[in-house]
């Protein structure tokens, strides 16, 4: 199973919205609701931000949202803040776990 495809980097200014895409196949992203997103700051452990495509764990700000269309899932961060600058990974949890390659979010 191949890694999911994410853009290597995205950027935005404080207050703006950015979206990160995650493309898989009908056997993973497109076929099931088991898509999640993780945030990782340098030197830190990953943190779950979105699960089941659209659900936010307790404590995750509402400005983080998830969606899916066909074989592509997306993470959208609205009202960008400096602390959002991090690496973001999507993940499909169908059977085994498959991660995307990661996207570096830069807050300008």
């Amino acid at each position: 199973q191949s890694a999911l495809t994410q853009p290597r980097s995205v950027s935005g200014s404080p207050g703006q919205s950015v979206s990160i895409s995650c493309t898989g196949t009908s056997s993973d992203v497109g076929g099931y609701k088991y898509v999640s997103w993780y945030q990782q700051h340098p030197g830190k452990a990953p943190k779950l931000m979105i699960y089941d495509v659209t659900q936010r764990p307790s404590g995750v700000p509402e400005r983080f949202s998830g969606s899916k269309s066909g074989n592509t899932a997306s993470l959208t961060i609205s009202g960008l803040q400096a602390e959002d600058e991090a690496e973001y990974y999507c993940c499909s949890s169908v059977g085994t776990l498959i991660f995307g390659g990661g996207t570096t979010l830069t807050v300008l």
């Binding site: 199973q1 890694a3 088991y34 999640s36 993780y38 990782q40 452990a45 990953p46 943190k47 779950l48 699960y51 764990p57 990974y89 993940c91 949890s93 085994t96 776990l97 498959i98 991660f99 995307g100 390659g101 990661g102």
Partner: protein, 117 residues
């Protein structure tokens, strides 16, 4: 408060064995799976495998099958990841995570493994 505390950094030579640990607290250990995830230097996350803490049933990513072993000790609420013969390419940070419906909801701080002659 849920906590996963991993063992400290390790340095080994190629061919040596190693076991790293992940001690859980703050929840019922046997009610969740534990995932193990690798992160090579400057690279992304890779799923290693996972174990059901209720019955020790484990599954592995094909990339790691046969090279690592995941186990638990219920009495210590601790999960383990072990190698019988390390390679230089095993050098990485390894994270454990409490898994709820497959999702890593709580993570350990990571264990750096360095394999070098």
């Amino acid at each position: 408060e849920v906590q996963l505390v991993q063992s400290g950094a390790e340095v080994r030579e190629p061919g040596e064995s190693l076991r790293i640990s992940c001690k859980a607290s703050g929840y019922t250990f046997t009610s969740y799976w534990i995932n193990w995830v690798r992160q090579m230097p400057g690279k992304g996350l890779e799923f290693v495998g996972r174990i059901d803490a209720s019955d020790s049933y484990s599954t592995y990513s094909p990339s790691f099958q046969g090279h690592v072993t995941i186990s638990i000790d219920k009495s210590l609420a601790t999960a383990y990841l072990q190698w019988s013969s390390l390679k230089a390419s095993d050098s990485a940070i390894y994270y454990c995570a409490r898994a709820d419906s497959g999702y890593g909801v709580d993570w350990g701080q990571g264990t750096l493994v360095t394999v070098s002659s």
